[in-house]
Amino acid sequence: MTMTTAIEVRGLRKDFPVREKGILGPRTLKRAVDGLDLDIPRGRVTGLLGLNGAGKTTTIKILATLLRPSAGTVRIDGLDAVADARAVRRRINLIAGGERMVYTRMTGRENLWYFGQLYDVPKADLRRRTGELLDLVGLSGAADTMVERYSRGMTQRLAIARGLVNRPDYLLLDEPTLGLDAPIARDLRRVVADLAAHDGTGVLLTSHYLAEVEELCGHVYVISAGRHLAQGSPAELKAATGSHRTVRLTVTDPTERTRAAADAFGATRETLPDGGELITLRHPGDMAGPLTAAVFEAGGSIGGLEIAEASLEDAILTLAERGEAGLAGPGSGRPDATTIRPGAATAPPEAATAPPEAATVPPGAGTAPSEAAAAGVKGGTP
């Protein structure tokens, strides 16, 4: 057994017994997690992505000692999550979004005090930390108010403070911003990034908001149906999935010739209500120039041009589709083939024009890939 400062997951498998009908029906095993390997080092935010039912929450609960793996090992700083569960619990904590998870008949401060006792946080530390945490989540003013009088957002912020009360070495975040107001979600992202960068906390994050993952995670694991699909930095993932850069070109006076020009690129066409036509082209390369030139030369008047940069969301969807196709085939076994090696593809250059999704993406998301790359990701196959 080697001592490492990381969560090391090897060959993790989890089967749940399920009964088909009623309580006396035949029992079958449902495999929720199937042979996962994960490394969650200190000082980095590691993402865990997948479609619904991919096994993300099960994986997180196993790491949190709430579930016992059916096979495989989970080591946290060298401690076994099953055999040394109690020691492991002192080092980790879990924040799950969207649920209430605090006591409503106690004040915010009392909630933190209570959980501090359960985690055996030394008295003086606890007093100081309670103050710091309440500050951090902006609840200092409501610290002595009963939680039942909190708004939903306040309750969720308290739940976040609770998850930090034992100053965990490893923080497991299961959809932490689910249902949070945008500014609070932004603050939480800032806190998480800070915990990893300055306190050296190892963070595992699952989220439906891929922009959030793109912003925070230095390394992302993509899983589907409990199996490993791909891993790498967000930039690497996007590059390796063929980066669906999207060009949208509006032609105000479409003719047979402009249509033929567009079709030659394999673009799709859509008639607009004003008689114009929208030409959409998804392509790995930068095709905006050639397409525009071809349409222009065919006599078309250009009414507008948009270039959408590839997003992590596109990459994940592509991976999931590929993964499902691959997993469905016989003998496809472990989908290691889709693992992305660093340098296998170069990250696409930043788009000159602002992506149209920019309005829905939190500030900073546009520059996330380069930030993530700078965070020093080792990436590659395990």
């Binding site: 749940f16 000692t65 709430l66 619990r89 209430r100 209570y114 359960l118 055996d120």
Partner: protein, 276 residues
């Protein structure tokens, strides 16, 4: 990290949490004092016709006059309140399954049995002290007490507290892992007073009911409390009852620990907090 000190901290925190959760309710004094006293009055009036019957005195000398019947029923009400407050506390704890806080308890390194015992103790301190004061005052005022030595009061308190806390830990462990806690709550409310001899002396109960009643620590507690307070029994006379109570309490604690171990292992295997 001293394990004993950690356990004490968990105990104190859980007790206080339970106090805050229960005491936050408005007019909690109703369930603590008003309801038991009104219920006592109803029971007293309902049974009075049989206690004033001409042959009652020879059948049941202890309650031969109305005041002594009232004292008998009052001790029953007090002991029942002790044990039932733990049923209620377990019922509250079972709500933590749905609010998600139970998962947080299992996420923490705190000792599970400590949590269950402390949760019950919190409910007990919270619920029973007012009724205890009231009952002691009333019994003293009526002049129906018949106690062999002053320290028998201490024995009475221990005979109530220790089995009740063990009972609470057992129930908490059971309800944490049972899907239909409403059912347990129902069968442990009314039948509990019936089989434990809260409102009738044990000799009046059919043998089968007495056997069932022996399983519940409330039965033994009542024998000890009434023996010490109303029948002038000495500690040595009560020794068999007290020993039995101690053994039953130990058994309940062992059972609680076992349920917790099996239940948590199962929960970690199946992802569902239930025993079956």
């Amino acid at each position: 990290m001293n394990p004993l000190r950690h356990s004490l901290r968990v105990f104190a925190a859980e007790t206080l949490k339970q106090h805050r959760r229960l005491f936050g309710q408005p007019l909690v004094v109703f369930s603590m004092l008003v309801w038991p006293v009104l219920q006592l009055a109803t029971t007293y009036y309902t049974l009075r016709p049989v206690a004033t019957a001409s042959r009652a005195a020879e059948n049941w000398p202890l309650a031969a006059d109305p005041d002594r019947l009232l004292a008998f029923l009052a001790t029953g009400t007090l002991a029942y309140a002790f044990f039932f407050s733990l049923v209620q506390s377990a019922w509250h704890l079972s709500f933590e399954r749905t609010t998600g806080t139970l998962e947080l308890l299992f996420l923490s390194p705190a000792g599970r049995l400590t949590l269950m015992i402390a949760n019950g103790a919190g409910a007990l301190l919270q619920n029973a002290w007012l009724l205890t004061c009231f009952t002691v005052a009333a019994l003293t005022g009526f002049g129906t007490l018949s106690v062999s030595a002053w320290w028998m009061y201490g024995i009475v308190l221990l005979a109530l507290l220790i089995p009740a806390v063990a009972w609470g830990a057992f129930l908490n462990s059971l309800l944490v892992f049972s899907r239909d806690s409403a059912f347990l709550y129902t069968i442990l409310d009314e039948p509990l007073w019936f089989v434990s001899g809260v409102r009738l002396p044990h000799f009046a109960l059919p043998a089968a009911v007495q056997v069932v009643g022996a399983v519940f620590p409330l039965t033994g507690s009542l024998l000890a409390v009434r023996g010490a307070l109303l029948e002038h029994r000495t500690a040595s006379e009560l020794a068999p009852t007290l020993l039995g109570l101690g053994a039953l309490s130990a058994l309940l604690l062992v059972a609680a620990a076992l349920i917790l171990r099996v239940g948590e292992a199962r929960a970690r295997r199946t992802g569902a907090l239930s025993l079956v």
